[in-house]
Amino acid sequence: MRRLFDQIHNLDEEELLILKKRVEITIIVMVTFIAILVVRLWYLQIHEGEKYADMALNNRVRQLQIVAPRGNILDRHNRIIISNRPLFNILWTRDDAKDPDLVLKKMAEILQEDISDVLARIRMVGNHPKFVPIRLKEDVAWETVAFVENHRLELPGIRIEAVPSRKYNYNNLASHLLGYLAEINIRELKNKSSTLYMGGDQIGKMGLEKIFDAQLRGEKGQRLFEVDVHGLEQQQLKLTEPLPGHDLQLTIDLDLQQVAEKEMAGKAGAVIAMDVKTGGLLVLASAPSLNLEEFIGGISQQSWDKMVHDPLKPLLDKTIQGQYPPGSTYKIVTALAGLMEGVITPETTYDCPGYFTLHGHRYGCWKRWGHGKDINLEKALAESCDVFFYHIGQEVGVDKLAIYAKSLGLGEKSGIILENEKAGLVPTKEWKKRKKNESWQQGETVSVSIGQGFNLTTPLQITRMTAAIANGGTLYTPQIVLAIKDQDGATLQEFPPQESGQAFTTARALKLINKGLVAAVNGEHPTGGSAKMETIMVAGKTGTAQVVRLEHYSETEVEDVPNRFRDHAWFTCYAPAENPEIAVTVLNEHGGHGGSAAAPIAKAVLEAYFNKKNAEPSSAQ
């Protein structure tokens, strides 16, 4: 048998030609396939190159937002009311952990939680890349942070994240005014500039935190860094430091605000103190206050419901949103109208038998047995004689009363920067026709002239009115922010006092009213006697706003009337009477009589003000 090797022979011409043809076909096939590769290469690198270059960049570059420290909120003497504190969160990165179950078990122990709760939270985050950290727990105690830091090596994948958060140095002080922060919602996100606001940001939801959010929040910083496939940082590419937010210096005086809120503890109502020469608010307190800490990290539905259904209505800012009949404080308006319209003079007197008769109907004075004969303006204001003012009301008429009321800032928004201010109501004949399609009854003027009936005012309006009476008739726009400062304390923007109108007064009329108001605190039978101070002359007016007129309770002592049927107690005053500096108004919801339930609170604020002024004559204005 021939060896196979020997069978191999050289090809002849014909065989060569056949092979050549086949190789040619092979070449065509190969060239086709190579062409496919080249076209694909061109498509990926040239045609789609930019897209893939972007994707490569996104692959490796991570962007980290650095939250800017939010500006502080200061009182008028630069004492910090709200500052920042770091909020510590526990982060867990699945990728870093060799034995994730063990680490989680340990963490659950440290957090004193059930492991199933921890796992449930992780599951809630859902499907996401392994290298993205999950927040295991927010706002952990400082001790926990220290423990975790000390046991770092036993807890691979666990990290502590520090996020700036609000610190309320005086708990819930001025809570309605200051407001709170919460995570931005979709609606807000749509309306705000997308360069400054991002999902997950904290944003002011109420009060000054909301109104001045843009100034307080500062500008976020940014860190660009390169990561490998495990998300581990390789190098920092770029760092933009955050710009801290600006501080807000308020007109509020911490000491006075604290006194006012302490006095209002357990009550509902409002306390306001205003610098009569500038309109700056030294106190703006609404009771009960809100628990601001509860709002950090989002308030629970339970707490929210509780607040909504609380009869003391903590959610309502009673200083600007609460509308109450002004009661006898309105007698200032009636007195002014009477003097200005020439209906009364200081010598004018009326008798008060305890009632006033109009068209056969008797309108009682609060003093059922009457104030006696020959009551003049001073005595009428001092003892709050209703009958005297019924007479003026009838002479002047409701529309004239309204003109003076409005010139004192009632029935319109004061223009304070806060949101949702209510305008109150000053009734006129035209108003009633328009609103109720009824003509004005003369008897209604009687009610209006002592601040009952349709009249509605906010405590801030009453304060502004009193301040105007005190300062010679100038209405100021109530001011709450003195200045915006940078974090070094340099003033960036100042808010000067803003005059917004002039009351229809004369010096003579004001002097007469002043005399009556001084007597109302310091006179022989003063209604506001409990606001009397030893060294400082206080001028003031009590008010008792009827909530409902129930004959049933007319003989009953205040304490025995169910709370919701009790009258609102008003007291508005200014001091020193001869050269006024400060106006204080107190509204004690369902407190009963102004003289007993509101005037002492006003006195406490005044005392705090003047004590402080005497102690440090330089710092208090």
């Binding site: 196979l4 069978q7 191999i8 090809l11 190969m30 990926l44 040239i46 496939v229």
Partner: protein
């Protein structure tokens, strides 16, 4: 037979050697960029350099022997490789659930690699002996089909889909080259489709099936199997016209690209050298392929031609499938880019194939003794 003719040296294929050296240089440079160092001993580019040196030694050994001797020993070779495959299936250490390697101490032999070359030699011998010139009938194809089928089955069971597919491609390429009857061709194509269908249902492992599904819709699983395809496309695409520059690729250096020294080595090249650098690579690489076809034509005998066709198709199909995979045109299968991907078994097998080409080239004027 072993006498060394002076003409042999005169006819030495310097072009082919130069091409291999050039691709080798690109390979080493690329490996240096892909994995400049390793925490476990010798860096891969150095290891690959050693394999290249061994490869050149292997070439020297092969060209010193007349390739025609292979026609005598092909069944011996065949038997030896089948034994290796059986051995690896039975005893080798499972790496990632597969049993492809035999640990030889200094390196892990992957017997499925020499199996490719073994099939080339076996088929070349068989077709050389049986060729009638009129085209094969289905009946006549039975024996070569069995010859290819046995290693194919063993490698599929390892499981190594890529290499098994490669055997099929070699079989088809060489069989088509020796000419089939039309009826045979039609029957074969029909059977192929049928087998593919059955294979999808019963033969493929779940992960293999998933790879193909992922390929068809890579976005659906961007952190799982689709990850390879997407990251590789990002690497290639982001190279754009001129590339990011040597050693400047980010996809590889930051670990985004998996298997970047083996199957996805070309992604690194394309990222760093861009479109023009890649075209240059293609030019060199495919010039080598066409040069192989040129050698096939220059052979004085049919056995040499068939051997060359087999070796060229072996290199070409691996290269095409690898490149198409890297550029997202084909699903991810384990398939190295010959001479360019890191890996001793693949490199030595390819170098042996190059040695056969050179041997054929050198003996183009030499009649069988």
């Amino acid at each position: 037979m072993f006498q060394f003719d002076r003409r042999l040296f005169q006819n030495f294929d310097w072009v082919l050697l130069g091409l291999v050296a050039l691709i080798g240089a690109m390979c080493l440079a690329n490996l240096y960029s892909a994995m400049p160092d390793t925490f476990r001993g010798t860096p891969v580019y150095l290891k690959q350099l050693y394999f290249f040196i061994m490869g050149f030694a292997l070439i020297l050994l092969i060209i010193s022997v007349d390739y025609r001797i292979l026609v005598e020993f092909n069944y011996t070779l065949y038997g030896a490789v089948i034994c290796l495959l059986l051995f690896s299936s039975l005893f080798s250490s499972g790496l990632a659930g597969t049993s492809r390697w035999i640990d030889l101490g200094f390196f892990k032999l992957q017997p499925s690699e020499p199996a490719k070359l073994m099939l080339v030699i076996t088929l070349a011998s068989y077709y050389f002996r049986k060729d009638t010139g009129k085209g094969f009938t289905l009946k006549e194809l039975f024996v070569p089909l069995m010859l290819a089928g046995l290693p194919f089955a063993l490698i599929v069971s390892q499981p190594d889909l890529g290499t098994a597919l490669m055997l099929a491609f070699i079989f088809i390429s060489m069989t088509l080259f020796v000419k089939l009857r039309w009826s045979t061709l039609v029957t074969l194509i029909g059977t192929a489709f049928l087998t593919a269908g059955i294979g999808w249902q019963y033969l493929l492992k779940p992960y293999q099936r998933q790879r193909i599904e992922t390929f068809l819709n890579p976005g659906s699983d961007s952190l799982g199997s689709g990850y390879h395809i997407i990251q590789s496309k990002i690497a290639v695409g982001s190279g754009r016209t001129f590339g990011k520059g040597y050693l400047q690729g980010t996809q590889g250096n930051l670990d985004f690209l998996p298997e970047r020294h083996t199957d996805f080595a070309f992604s690194i090249w394309a990222e760093e050298w861009g479109f023009f650098g890649s075209l240059f690579f293609f030019a060199v690489y495919f010039f080598l392929i066409f040069w192989g076809l040129n050698i096939a034509l220059s052979s004085r005998d049919k056995f040499g031609t068939l051997l060359c066709i087999g070796v060229v198709s072996l290199i070409f199909w691996q290269a095409f499938i690898n490149l198409a995979m890297v550029m997202g045109l084909l699903p991810v299968v384990g398939m190295p880019l010959p001479l360019f991907s890191y890996g001793g078994s693949s490199l030595l097998t390819t170098m042996a194939g190059i040695g056969i080409l050179m041997s054929v080239r050198m003996r183009r004027y030499q009649a069988p003794v």
